[in-house]
């Protein structure tokens, strides 16, 4: 049914349609309206046979989900930003134990400096935790990915993180098709665990594993994610046949036919990039987009095929590994380095801490990549004047003070407004 609805509430409705049996949440910033919406659905009785557990922290939220999942329940939680960091140990435990929990990550930056806005730093901090990570381009896809995520997670017995851009998607109200219960029930069978804590047939889960077996356990986790490379497109195909729209999969191509310049990105930025590409195509520039949906597992073969014909590849991402550069660009570099005629790779970091990514800036960036490429990592719309002054000041003065405060002071002077309190 078509609804004009906030992204978070649409996701809450979609998750409810998946019939979760345990939902754990720590309802404090950083959190989205998703768990709030689910709480309302449980309370009003429209989500039945579901235990909603308010816990005392994010660490507890995921720990309770782990316990519930091990006891055979379909378990769900959501977090963002610092909340994900606080549950980090449990994040690794969920995947290490092979428990098919689904978690929404309403992507936000990580402090310091304190910042509540959108970027992908939180997802990147857990990229090697063993969870599958799927990125939604639109709120419609966010809805659809949650339904697919439970299916993928339970088929593999591995946890799945659905990454949805905080604010940009979670707080946007738009037209979204919410599937009906019968269709979701037909797509997603009841959870049939591969391991379950059952007093009638006792087992233990979570053994101490020494050097004699640790490698094998890890290899099998990797093997499962490699299987996911086949399962994700298969389940997305089944979803498309049943629900009549394309959502999910490993990656998607947009106007890539005959493209000399290919852009690669993840999440909601792809919409703005598509509009930019349409404008550039009108000017006769052969440019296209590859949207990565599945970041973990990383679709190396599919990417290599998608990028093989291009002269230039621009990777634009909302995260930076300080001291190295863009994580996505690094992964893509590894995927294409053995191509016989590998495209030139240009890495750009954009939208950090919620900075708007505009068509105007993207136009400039894409044209620059083909004509006058930069070296290393490019920070889109970096205020070079402010950065230059701060570097200069630090050189002159040993006790130069805290960076964030210095930058804010400079900006305040430039605009003539009082510095932030």
């Amino acid at each position: 049914m078509l609804k004009q609805i906030e992204g978070s509430h649409a996701m809450a409705e979609a998750i409810a349609l998946c019939r979760p049996e345990v939902i754990c949440a720590y309802p404090i910033t950083p959190q989205t309206h998703i768990v709030e919406g689910l709480g309302e659905l449980v309370k009003e009785g429209s989500l039945v046979d579901c235990e909603y557990i308010n816990v005392e922290s994010e660490f507890a939220a995921l720990s309770v989900a782990i316990g519930a999942s091990a006891a055979g329940a379909r378990a769900y939680t959501a977090t963002a930003s610092q909340g994900l960091l606080f549950m980090a140990e449990a994040v690794y435990n969920a995947s290490g134990l092979g428990l098919p929990i689904v978690m929404t990550l309403g992507n936000r930056a990580i402090g310091a400096p304190i910042n509540i806005w959108n970027d992908h730093s939180d997802a990147m901090s857990m990229r090697d935790s063993g969870w599958l990570q799927l990125f939604a381009e639109t709120n419609q896809e966010a809805v659809d990915l949650h339904i697919q995520a439970f299916r993928i997670a339970e088929e593999l017995s591995m946890p799945v993180m659905v990454c949805v851009d905080g604010f940009i998607l979670t707080h946007a109200m738009e037209r979204i098709d919410i599937p009906d219960q019968t269709a979701v029930d037909a797509y997603l069978p009841p959870y049939d665990p591969v391991q379950v804590l059952d007093p009638a047939s006792p087992i233990s889960i979570g053994a101490m594993v020494g050097p004699e077996a640790f490698t094998e356990v890890r290899f099998l986790a990797h093997y499962k994610q490699m299987q996911a490379l086949r399962l994700i497109p298969e389940f997305a195909g089944e979803f498309a046949r049943q629900f009549g729209r394309n959502s999910g999969g490993l990656l998607r191509a947009y106007r890539t036919e005959d493209a000399e310049l290919l852009v690669v990105a993840m999440g909601s930025i792809c919409g703005t990039i598509k509009d930019t590409i349409d404008e550039m195509r009108d000017d006769g520039i052969r440019v296209g987009l590859v949207t990565i949906v599945s970041f973990r597992p990383f679709p190396v073969d599919a990417l290599r095929n998608a990028l093989a014909g291009a002269k230039d590849v621009v990777v634009i991402e909302k995260s930076v590994a300080v001291g190295m550069g863009g994580q996505l660009a690094d992964n893509i570099g590894a995927a294409i380095r053995n191509l016989t005629r590998a495209p030139r790779l240009h890495s750009a970091v954009a939208g950090l801490g919620g900075r708007s990514i505009t068509r105007a800036s993207l136009h400039h960036l894409f044209r620059q990549a083909a004509v006058q490429p930069w070296e290393g990592t490019h920070f889109l719309d970096l205020n070079e004047k402010v950065v230059g002054r701060e570097i200069h000041r630090k050189r002159k003065n040993r006790r130069s003070g805290p960076t964030a405060e210095n930058i804010l002071r400079q900006l305040a002077i430039a605009t003539g407004l009082p510095a932030a309190e």
Binding site: L2, Q4, E6, I116, W117, N118, T138, F167, I168, H171, A172, M173, E174, R175, S268, I269, G271, T272, K274, D275, G354, S356, I357, T358, R359
Partner: protein, 193 residues
Amino acid sequence: MFQVRIHGRGGQGVVTGAEMLSVTAFFEGRHAQAFPSFGSERTGAPVVAFCRIADREIRLREPIIEPDCLIVQDATLFKVIDVFAGLSSDGYLLVNTNKSLDELHIRNAVDRLPKGHAVIVPATEIALKRVGRPVPNAALLGAFAALTQFVHIDSVKRAIEAAFPGQVGTANVAAAGDAYEFVLSQQSAATAA
């Protein structure tokens, strides 16, 4: 695509206003995207919300930089921020105030717009009368329908009822109706003059 930027202060229902406008467009079978300017919202702090309306899927996720219509819920904002930034030369301006456009000292900006594209409406006053609270957002949407003729007043009323069920909705619908009539009468007076 038609782009609306709503300026107000925290507590005035700026975000709800943008959301109700998007629901209005949805009821008319169009695509619409409403979103807030993300930040820590404090009561009284300047707040911005956006609404895009189009006949096809809206993919763009940048903030609205070049609005086709500005809705200003609080006229004191003209002194604080550049409300007019990016307003297109054939755009619309709707200001919630008891004063005239001249009294607000925004004549220069208004004169750059086509004749009849800038109006005031005492939306807070209307809301106080109809709703009993200084929440001008619903009334302003009624005025928006009259000013731009871009959405139908009946769709606006339906969207308000969807957002506020019961008596609050009825009161806000009445406020939207008053503001709609106010702008229409102002326009016909201007044409007659």
